[in-house]
């Protein structure tokens, strides 16, 4: 083969240029960056709700809406608090107007006065995304825009979601909704941007009674893990097989 030194250098230059140009369209990530995107596998974020401590003040809902920029007026919300009032005759009154955002200060439920002497029991149940081990919403996303991080949190890629609503349909807990401004699926992220920095979620931070706690299930010394391991806790709707990771203390059979 006939190849002068000049030709060799010329061709090498051309090849480098030709391969570098298309490659420059890709973004190179350092291993640390990749790890930051996908989460840390030594952590499994879990949540612990003590319903016996919740008084239905709604501060968690308010804090969440502000922190995560969810429009305040509409009833859509990443987290909410339900009120259960169970009557002596077995009737159940359940409500969560605006997710309980404004606190439960009224004795009326849906305009009906509830006679106090007929009440058998009453309590509040805070709800948020269960960050399931086997999330149905991730399974059904047709484009893979919603995914689970290694530390167990389910997130939505706002730049890739097509807004079909299949994940909203698939969630047995009704956690998801369409964000009115971004117009893509929206959900509770355990305030991922905060917990990554070592902070608490907005709802945990703002709960005056310690009804909400977040922890790392993979750390045996984590106080939340200790409670989950040693006390009697339960989860919501385990019959769907999604393996929810929000644990409750003091759930009642009437809780939906």
């Amino acid at each position: 083969m006939n190849c002068s030194r000049r030709d060799f250098i010329k061709n090498t230059f051309k090849t480098t240029l030709a391969s570098a140009l298309p490659l420059s369209a890709f973004k190179m990530l350092s291993p640390a960056e990749v790890k930051a995107y996908t989460g840390d596998s030594s952590i499994r974020w879990v949540f612990l709700v003590d319903t016996q401590k919740c008084v239905g003040c709604g501060l968690c809902v308010k804090a969440c809406k502000h922190e995560n920029e969810i429009p305040y007026a509409p009833p859509i919300t990443r987290t909410w608090v339900e009120r259960y009032v169970l009557m002596k005759n077995g009737q159940a009154h359940i409500e969560s107007p605006y997710g309980g955002r404004d606190g439960y200060t009224d004795t009326k439920i849906r305009e009906n006065e509830i006679p106090p002497e007929q009440i058998a029991k009453g309590f509040f149940v805070p709800k948020l995304c269960n960050q399931c081990k086997k999330p149905a919403c991730v399974q059904v996303c047709p484009v893979g825009a919603t995914y689970q991080t290694l530390d167990g949190v389910v997130l939505v890629d706002r730049k890739w979601c097509i807004g079909c609503g299949y994940c909203i349909m698939a969630c047995p807990y009704g956690m998801r909704f369409f964000h009115p401004i971004h117009r893509v699926a929206e959900k509770c992220t355990f305030c991922y941007h905060r917990i990554k920095q070592g902070m608490k979620t907005a709802c945990v931070q703002n709960c005056p009674f310690g009804a909400r706690r977040i922890g790392n299930l993979k750390d045996p010394n984590d106080p939340v893990t200790k409670v989950i391991m040693t006390e009697r806790v339960s989860v919501l709707k385990d019959e769907y097989g999604t393996k929810p990771q929000v644990y409750y203390i003091g759930l009642d059979t009437n809780v939906r």
């Binding site: 509409p74 009833p75 859509i76 996303c141 079909c164 299949y166 009704g174 939906r256």
Partner: protein, 424 residues
């Protein structure tokens, strides 16, 4: 009710998807709305029509049902006209319609929707190539006729048919026999693909475990059966309309003194009665499966049965038992079975059948969202009629009508190039 309250708070500039057409009763979760509305009713309805029309044409091409010969060619062309329309409702429904292509870029195969693009394209390729083989002789004939003719329209048609023939001008007996063989093979592959395309529209619903009404392994089969019913019905209906229209325009032309016009027979009763037998067969299969599903749910009476029963026998009773089963299934069934069937009676029975299948889709999609995931409350859907923004157009009456009208517009155009109906 919640809806009025929100608007009063000055949030009308925000479009919360579903808020506008949903009203709630008793306890529902805060984020629950009718997210899947009229366009998701239209989606399985239109896909069903595509699949049904194709299966009808394949019955002739594959199984050699000679009684379907006249309608087979027509239903094949009609299924092409319906094809792009199966995509339309999805595009109308997406919150980010421009990202619809993402399904092709990053298909996430654990999702039932992810394969849609692939199945759909496969199916489109089969339909297109089958039509090409059926019409190749016709294309070549047209090229021969138009050759050397002057005039812009003729020149255009000449080049169009040149292009459509793809340069395959061989009209020898051997080549034509090969065409027929190809049609048979394609139609044979097409049947399972058409059933898959639609059965899996059923799977999209049947696999949602969170929804008590939808979750059923029978859902895909029910969808296929009712799809074939609706596809056959639409093909028959359009066939009757076109043939009758041709007959009357010929009669009117003759009446005006144009003696050269031959009066044609209109829709042939023979074709209609024979096709309607297939329709009845699939109708019986569809109804049996649906009733089996209903009885099974009632008998096993799982946790969700209380709320399902209150929806089916209470709130949606008219929609399910009166409009769908009685008016949409039973009445046309009897109309088609009573001896001495006429074109006119068949015509009305077919309209009822199409309506019945539409109501079935409605009762699945909207009915599945009529109750809360908490099983403690209800939601009602109020379809937007007069649109006041893009959202209420797309997911309202006029959006649905747009989808409904498109296949006929497409059929009109396609029919100019590949005439679907011949008369002797």
């Amino acid at each position: 009710m919640a809806v009025e309250h929100i608007v009063a708070q000055g949030a009308e500039h925000l479009v919360v998807h579903g808020l506008e057409w949903t009203s709630k009763e008793l306890f529902t979760y805060p984020n629950e709305f009718i997210y899947w509305s009229i366009q998701i009713v239209m989606y399985p309805y239109m896909t069903g029509l595509v699949a049904g029309a194709f299966v009808l044409s394949s019955l002739y091409h594959v199984f050699g049902q000679q009684d379907l010969k006249t309608i087979a060619r027509f239903s094949l062309v009609f299924s092409l006209a319906l094809l792009p329309v199966a995509m339309m409702p999805l595009q109308f429904h997406l919150q980010q319609p421009l990202r619809g292509m993402n399904v092709m870029f990053t298909p996430h195969f654990t999702s039932a929707i992810a394969a849609f693009g692939i199945v759909f394209s496969t199916y489109a390729v089969i339909v297109l190539s089958e039509i090409w083989f059926v019409y190749r002789t016709f294309f070549v004939d047209q090229v021969q006729i138009l050759k050397g003719k002057q005039g812009a329209v003729d020149r255009f048609k000449y080049y169009l048919y040149m292009l459509l023939s793809l340069g395959a001008f061989d009209l020898s007996d051997k080549a034509i026999a090969l065409d027929k063989k190809a049609v048979k093979i394609l139609a044979g592959i097409g049947i399972p693909v058409a059933c898959f395309l639609h059965g899996y529209a059923g799977f999209i619903f049947g696999s949602v475990k969170a929804n008590a009404l939808w979750m059923s392994p029978l859902m895909p089969v029910i969808f296929i059966m009712s799809a074939v019913v609706s596809g056959i019905a639409l093909c028959m209906l359009t066939y009757i309309l076109i043939m009758e229209f041709k007959k009357w325009s010929a009669i009117i032309a003759k009446g005006k003194g144009d003696e050269s016009v031959l009066v044609i027979a209109g829709a042939e009763l023979d074709v209609i009665t024979k096709t309607s037998r297939y329709l009845l067969g699939f109708l019986v299969a569809a109804i049996s499966l649906e009733l089996l599903d209903l009885i099974f749910r009632g008998y096993t009476a799982m946790k969700s049965w209380d709320i399902l029963r209150s929806v089916m026998y209470g709130k949606d009773f008219i929609n399910i038992f009166v409009l769908q089963y009685t008016l949409g299934n039973l009445v046309p069934f009897i109309m088609l079975l009573i001896p001495g069937v006429t074109i006119r009676r068949t015509f009305f029975a077919l309209i009822l059948v199409l309506f019945g299948v539409f109501m079935m889709r409605w009762n699945v999609v909207i009915g599945g969202q009529a109750f809360s995931l908490s099983f403690a409350g209800y939601m009602h859907y109020h379809m937007p009629i007069i649109p006041h923004n893009m959202e209420t157009y797309k997911e309202g009456l006029f959006g649905a009508l747009t989808v409904l009208a498109t296949p006929f517009a497409l059929l009109w155009i396609i029919n100019k190039v590949t005439p679907a109906l011949e008369h002797k």
